[in-house]
Symmetry: C2
Subunit: 128 residues, 2 copies
DNA sequence: GCTTGACTTCGAGCGCGCTTTAAGTTGTAC
DNA sequence: GTACAACTTAAAGCGCGCTCGAAGTCAAGC
């Protein structure tokens, strides 16, 4: 996560204005880091920024929004489950295709065998 | 997959110019459909268009490109495996967070119980 | 004959999520 | 004191993958 990305997340309201050192530089607390880690996980699993904004907004409002926030997470979790299935299917498909390529390569290897080059001076110069 | 997307894929070389009916309309053969299905699977698992273009290009060149094509697929499969792990981790994280929200909601339910409204005319009107 | 609708081409437009640029301030090392 | 690096701001730019719009052609149905 680059500094630029952190600025961006702050700009769009994914993170609240964070603490500053005396010189004005940002100082991220452990709580900030935990929240950023969570954001990172959600992004890495394709949650749209908009949805993360909505979640962050509710989070600011406190426990009363628990239900709605839970719903967001449950929906996203269901999405993740679907993604996993798709990925597993693609993985299986690729296993098949890769096996097929290996067969093709084997066929080529048999049809056009690599003839050994005459290796006249082979082993005449010992490795020191 | 919309018609627009099919045109786009043809434009960028992911599919070869496809057969046409007498009126000029495209007719997709079963082979076309199989290829499109494959493209769809790769896209659904985040293979970039560029890489699909490279693969399609090699495919046009025939069996001699088998090795390189296999490498592309193997790399992508490895990427998929990584994605699956990330998704599973996020799924687990969400399970925890969701459980936590349920606890919070339970706490609220106990602290602010919903007082039963007086239900005076309850059951006086039988359901027909 | 005329409308409707599904296709055709080509080019422009767009939403997302950053990413880069430019210009300015501050603290540290030599 | 002065170079340098690391931060600051605000705004503009960009790559990706579509997505849409405009204008035209064709075939079928009323």
């Amino acid at each position: 996560m680059t500094a630029h990305t952190l600025r961006y997340y702050e700009r769009v309201g994914l993170i609240q204005p964070v603490g500053r050192a005396r010189n004005g530089h940002r100082r991220y607390s452990e709580a900030d880091e935990a929240w950023l880690h969570f954001l990172h996980c959600m992004r890495a699993t394709s949650m749209p920024i908009r949805e993360m904004q909505r979640y962050a907004e509710l989070r600011e409002l406190g426990d009363a929004t628990s239900l709605e926030r839970r719903k967001i997470l449950e929906d996203h979790q269901a999405g993740i489950a679907g993604q996993i299935v798709e990925l597993q299917q693609a993985h299986a498909l690729l296993t098949h295709k890769i096996a097929n390529y290996k067969m093709i390569e084997e066929r080529i290897r048999i049809t056009h065998p690599v003839v050994a080059e005459p290796e006249v001076d082979c082993e005449l110069t010992p490795v020191s």
